[in-house]
């Protein structure tokens, strides 16, 4: 059974249709990349899945239950975690407290005490390599550290589905490789389905995703295993423009 199903989802902002009749299935434990140029509706799609926006049409089904209009704070305890394109740390709180919030209100919500949450936080902070910074205010971290902290915070939620929004953008290629390796390990250990959204870091897509969904103007352009998707002429066209000789009118 699919972990998350989007059924013909449409979201409009006034006259602009940001996501248009979009359907998608995400399976437990899979790694999927959603790619697409700027403005193709990726972030809107994430916001629909995490409950920031409700779609005008269509349904969102998580583990067999319709969550189309479920408030976002009720989705996290069911197993939906996400990171943001521009990291959104709780700036004045320490890294440790930030990550503990994830543990406290994620799927473990109600079963862990504050102290246990802090212990869980320490474990994930260690894993993303931020242990020396754990008592720093999250707002004082470097941009890359903030991204790592967000990943730790999302992982501490023990999600079944993790949505990562441009988590690897702005990182050094070496760090990207390390991050991809780390995500693969975590994914195997904890059986999380990870959806990563990338604009143009093909290195990460190739290294990480089993399947690629290409979005273009709010709709699905293709949904194929990675190798095929990258060779798809439509994808190449969307990303790189027309091959020489065929140019625009």
């Amino acid at each position: 059974m699919a972990l998350l199903t989007l059924e013909n989802v449409t979201k409009r902002f006034g006259g602009l249709t940001a996501v248009n009749d979009f359907s998608l299935e995400i399976h437990p434990g899979e790694s999927l990349a959603i790619v697409g140029p700027n403005g193709s509706g990726k972030t809107t799609l994430y916001n629909i899945i995490s409950g920031v926006y409700f779609p005008e049409e269509g349904r969102v089904i998580f583990e067999g239950k319709d969550i189309t209009t479920l408030p976002s704070y009720k989705r996290a305890p069911r197993g939906l975690g996400r990171t943001f394109q521009i990291p959104r740390p709780f700036g004045s709180a320490s890294v440790r407290e930030n990550v503990a919030v994830g543990a406290m209100f994620g799927t473990l919500s109600g079963t862990v005490s504050v102290d246990e949450s802090l212990a869980i936080a320490d474990c994930y902070i260690e894993r993303v390599g931020l242990f020396p910074h754990r008592d720093k205010a999250a707002g004082s971290l470097t941009p890359v550290e903030k991204k790592l902290m967000e990943i730790a915070r999302a992982l501490a939620m023990r999600p079944k589905l993790l949505l990562m929004d441009e988590a690897l953008a702005g990182m050094h290629p070496k760090d990207i490789d390390a991050m991809v390796a780390f995500l693969q390990t975590i994914q195997e250990e904890e059986d999380i389905a990870i959806v990563s959204m990338v604009e143009h870091i093909m290195r990460a897509v190739v290294g990480f995703a089993e399947r690629v969904v290409v979005m273009y103007q709010g709709a699905k352009l293709c949904d194929e295993p990675t190798e095929q998707a990258l060779c798809d002429s439509r994808v190449v066209e969307v990303y790189l423009g027309h091959p020489p000789g065929e140019g625009h009118a």
Partner: protein
């Protein structure tokens, strides 16, 4: 067990400050009124901090909760003073009524205004105290604009001696207790799940929601807690102490502004902040009243400007960063 107690260490400087105020007031002749006033400022700062400091929402109508609390106590005394067997129970009932009325009002206000954010929330709440005042005056309930004067009833219920001790001594002592309770609730919240939720929503409400935090629930809990403490402070410091209540006096917005100054001056969202803020503010106001009578009201504006420009984190906010890593860290938050 020990780890649990360590978490409450920051209460030590707070309670020490209150104890010192109390001892000075009791032992130095002529100081009781001043010390009681300082305790009052610390108490309202501490109560308001639970909402303003922890959620980052500014409630300009905050004084309304103190106002209805004052009425709670007044109504209890006026209606029950002939019931002899109640004894001091009248005061207890008054206090409970004050808390209940303030929390009911906070639920009503919160249900509407807490849907708004930031400046919109602040603007929506500005009308609450004025609205409530005009409602009492216009509808002529609870004595309308003439208020309720109940010194007579208080004397009849308890006799001249006891009534005088109640309003000149016990009203103040209970303020010390309320301040202490407010401090305890503050740290209890800070150390609990709610504290993490409030910090998260103060920093980034949308991100907090996506992280699974029911922001509305936690905001309302903080709002009701803060309001009911305000109600109890009104019941003691205004009703029982002054033995009268006028709508034009208890719904004055400048008390809200005093609360805001105290919290920001000491450090919003810190435990020790409102105590420090209350002491600095109370003392400077008192000192100005003595040296430049009439000018004390002028200090509001410069204080606010100086805090916001020079040290937006407040005294304790700055100090907290300084002591990071030292022994004092455990005591100052």
């Amino acid at each position: 067990m020990r780890a649990k107690i360590v978490k409450y260490y920051p209460l030590i400087p707070v309670y020490a400050a209150y104890l010192i105020l109390f001892l000075i007031g009791k032992n130095v002749p002529g100081m009781w009124q001043l010390m009681a006033m300082l305790a009052f400022y610390c108490a309202i700062g501490q109560a308001f901090n639970i909402f303003l400091g922890m959620t980052g929402y500014v409630d300009f109508g905050y004084v309304a909760f103190m106002g209805v609390g004052t009425y709670g106590m007044a109504l209890s005394i006026v209606h029950l003073y002939q019931v002899e067997w109640l004894g001091v129970g009248i005061i207890v009932i008054g206090l409970i009524l004050a808390v209940v009325m303030a929390s009911l009002l906070s639920i009503a206000v919160g249900a509407v205004a807490l849907r708004l954010r930031g400046a919109y929330f602040a603007i929506a709440t500005i009308g609450v105290n004025e609205g409530f005042r005009y409602f009492i005056e216009g509808a002529k309930i609870w004595g309308g604009s003439e208020g309720i004067i109940f010194s007579g009833q208080l004397t009849q219920a308890f006799g001249r001696e006891t009534a005088s001790v109640l309003s000149t001594l016990w009203a103040d002592i209970i303020i010390f207790f309320i301040a202490g309770i407010a401090a305890f609730i503050t740290i209890y919240y800070m150390r609990g799940k709610i504290g993490y939720a409030l910090t998260a929503l103060r920093e980034d409400e949308d991100a907090a929601k996506v992280m699974g935090i029911n922001v509305t629930k936690y905001k309302i809990i903080a709002f009701i807690t803060s309001a009911s403490l305000a109600g109890s402070i009104g019941a003691m410091a205004w009703a029982l102490k002054l033995t009268y209540v006028f709508p034009s006096e208890v719904f004055e917005i400048h008390y809200t502004i005093e609360c805001i100054i105290i919290v920001l001056l000491g450090g919003a969202g810190t435990l020790l902040g409102p105590v420090v803020g209350g002491l600095i503010y109370g003392l400077s106001k008192y000192w100005l009243t003595v040296v430049l009578p009439g000018f004390q009201l002028l200090i509001f504006a410069p204080i606010i400007i100086i805090i916001i420009v020079a040290f937006p984190e407040g005294v304790i906010g700055v100090l907290k960063r300084r002591v990071r890593g030292s022994v004092l860290e455990k005591f100052i938050i």
